[in-house]
């Protein structure tokens, strides 16, 4: 187990290193120049050159990379070209908002997916089961951003129940406010992800229900409810945990369009803007952070998986 963990951590480092190189390669391949964006359409060549110098954009790529990675290892990802603030603090600013949205979205996802998945797996042919299957298909078919728009128009603009733009209200400061501010983007995301998760859970549960040990439990005389609760669900949740982990990882920086639609100050929007503005240091730091967070999260998921599954834990 420990050996496994350490090996995973090593892999993690390798991927990060690869990632940092790739991110650098990409940002330098980006057409457009931060100086032009910074100075706007009417700046002169000389001004641009001066700005490039100021931003540390002169010097060879390799030189820049080496100095950057050196700092990055020490936790210094450089400064944003625009705000002049350290990239780390720019990211730290957005992380609570991102985590909060991801948390809400995931909570909603599970809240929907678990009962729906179970119902679909156990009573696929009932009226409820069919209706829910319809929901699952629709959830996959409707793009989240489109759903978000509809939610805004109906709930925020027409009915004025909820705010259309979702400011970040920290949960610990104002739980009610946080809920109203986050619920719409979280729902728009969760309808889609819950469909995926519920389907996955339903399939695994369906598979598990056909396993020999379920038959054993029934043969022991365990009532059906308990068979499902104690034997089937735990086993069926195993593959689902991986999916949930991947989804959660995807929420970190991956909800660009939703954040744009709801004007939510998350990492995705930050990175999207940064790419548009050619804020290289922010893009590099940000993408690297997203990659690291994703990998770390999946590492945690794997550990959690191992906790759930003795076959992995004990070998």
């Amino acid at each position: 187990m420990y050996g496994y963990l350490i090996r995973r951590l090593l892999q993690f480092a390798v991927v990060l290193l690869l990632g940092s190189i790739a991110v650098w390669g990409f940002t330098f391949a980006l057409p457009g120049d931060p100086a032009t964006v910074l100075l706007g359409p009417d700046a002169s060549e000389a001004e641009l050159a001066a700005t490039r110098d100021r931003l540390g954009l002169s010097g060879s790529i390799v030189e820049q990379y080496v100095s950057w990675i050196g700092h990055a290892v020490a936790g210094d990802l450089g400064s944003s070209y625009y705000s002049g603030r350290p990239v780390v603090s720019e990211l730290l600013d957005r992380i609570p908002a991102t985590v909060q949205l991801a948390g809400f979205a995931m909570a909603l996802t599970l809240l929907i997916a678990v009962p729906v998945g179970i119902a679909v797996a156990l009573w696929p042919h009932s009226v409820v089961g069919r209706a829910l299957q319809g929901y699952l298909t629709a959830g996959l078919a409707v793009p989240a951003f489109w759903l978000g728009l509809l939610l805004i128009i109906v709930l925020a603009v027409q009915l004025r129940w909820l705010p259309a733009s979702s400011d970040f209200v920290p949960l610990w400061r104002d739980p009610g406010g946080a809920l109203t501010a986050t619920i719409l983007p979280a729902s728009a995301i969760a309808v889609h992800t819950s469909s995926v998760t519920a389907r996955f859970l339903a399939t695994s549960l369906g598979e598990v229900m056909g396993k020999d040990y379920i038959r054993t439990a029934r043969a022991k005389g365990v009532p059906e409810r308990e068979v499902i609760r104690r034997h089937a669900l735990r086993n069926a949740s195993l593959p689902t945990v991986t999916i949930v982990g991947l989804q959660l990882g995807g929420f970190l920086g991956g909800t660009v369009v939703i954040e744009a639609v709801f004007n939510y100050p998350g990492l995705g929007r930050l990175l999207y803007t940064a790419i548009g503005e050619r804020d290289y240091s922010l893009v590099q730091g940000g993408v690297l952070f997203v990659v690291a967070a994703f990998l770390l999260l999946n590492l945690l998921v794997d550990v959690f998986y191992a906790v759930l599954d003795p076959r992995i834990r004990l070998t």
């Binding site: 991927v15 690869l18 793009p143 995807g250 999207y272 990659v291």
Partner: protein, 300 residues
């Protein structure tokens, strides 16, 4: 001396069994039919569409009427014609992205799974990396680097689909790498590439085919999302995502404008989804979990 009398097997033709199993799922057939209709629309768009999709002849933002069955858009173009032509963008994105994803991912997964060792290690780290960057960001960066345009769009979405294909193929390859018939092929003197292509590949195709469908439906949504961000299909070529983007601004003036592209998008995904489920049933009876695009492909 005895010989088993060969009991006649039920089907004379090969591969019919799974086709029939697919055909028995009514919803899968409906999905396939729907997709065929869409494909026909896309293919024969110029013949079917009542108007030139770029012609700005009508009054802008008309509701549905006799002349323009689904109304007109903000520039007075016929929405129905644009929808029909828009099927091209969506379907090309879908097919192209799936082809790119499979074209890169499957060989990668096959090599990683079959050869193992360092090939596997390197391939999987690459896949990890690709997987760790949210698909939409990846697509964004790729499009920004390569510039907008249909081909680049396809590449951008397709590359995002590579890890899924690679992982799926690798797992399937690992699953059969040590199976007797693969050993048998080696035992008969087949070379490694020969074994990989002729023996392993056909036997890992089933989940890949399903993933192709899954990827296609994901691509439809991501194409819409990217067009929505202004990086998708360039005008005046209509695309459903672009129409959605335009329409949202005119929702109040012309509510039906946004409805139709949204419905088309949903219907396409629905058809693909049905086909995927049908295929899954056909391939495996009830079937193991297919790695669906589990990250936030649709929840961008």
């Amino acid at each position: 001396m005895t010989t088993a009398p060969n009991t006649p097997a039920p089907t004379p033709r090969r591969r019919l069994a799974s086709l029939r199993r697919f055909a028995r799922s009514r919803s899968a057939v409906a999905g396939a039919a729907g997709l065929l209709v869409l494909a026909a629309l896309a293919l024969f768009a110029p013949l079917i569409a009542p108007f030139d999709p770029a012609a700005q002849d009508g009054e802008p933002l008309l509701g549905p009427s006799g002349a323009h069955l689904l109304g007109t858009d903000q520039l007075g173009r016929d929405i129905l014609s644009r929808l029909i032509h828009g099927a091209r963008a969506s379907l090309i994105a879908a097919a192209g992205a799936a082809a790119v994803g499979a074209g890169i991912g499957v060989p990668l997964g096959l090599l990683a799974g079959y050869l193992g060792r360092w090939v596997d290690a390197v391939a999987m780290r690459l896949v990890d990396l690709l997987l760790a960057v949210p698909g939409i960001l990846l697509a964004l960066v790729i499009i920004v680097v390569l510039g907008p345009g249909r081909l680049n769009l396809i590449l951008a979405i397709g590359i995002g689909a590579v890890p899924e294909f690679a992982r799926l193929t690798r797992v399937a390859t690992l699953g059969i790498r040590d199976r007797d018939f693969v050993l048998a092929a080696r035992g008969m003197g087949a070379s490694t590439p020969d074994t990989m292509v002729r023996t392993v590949l056909p036997n890992v195709l089933a989940p890949i085919v399903i993933q192709v469908v899954v990827t296609a439906s994901m691509a439809v949504v991501v194409e819409a999302g990217l067009t929505f961000l202004g990086l998708g299909t360039p005008p005046p070529a209509p695309s459903w995502g672009g129409m959605l983007q335009d329409a949202r601004s005119y929702l109040y003036q012309s509510p039906s404008y946004g409805l139709f592209p949204g419905l088309c998008l949903a219907a396409t995904v629905l058809c693909l989804d049905r086909i995927g489920r049908g295929l899954q049933l056909a391939v495996s009876g009830s079937g193991p979990n297919v790695a669906t695009r589990v990250t936030t492909g649709g929840a961008v």
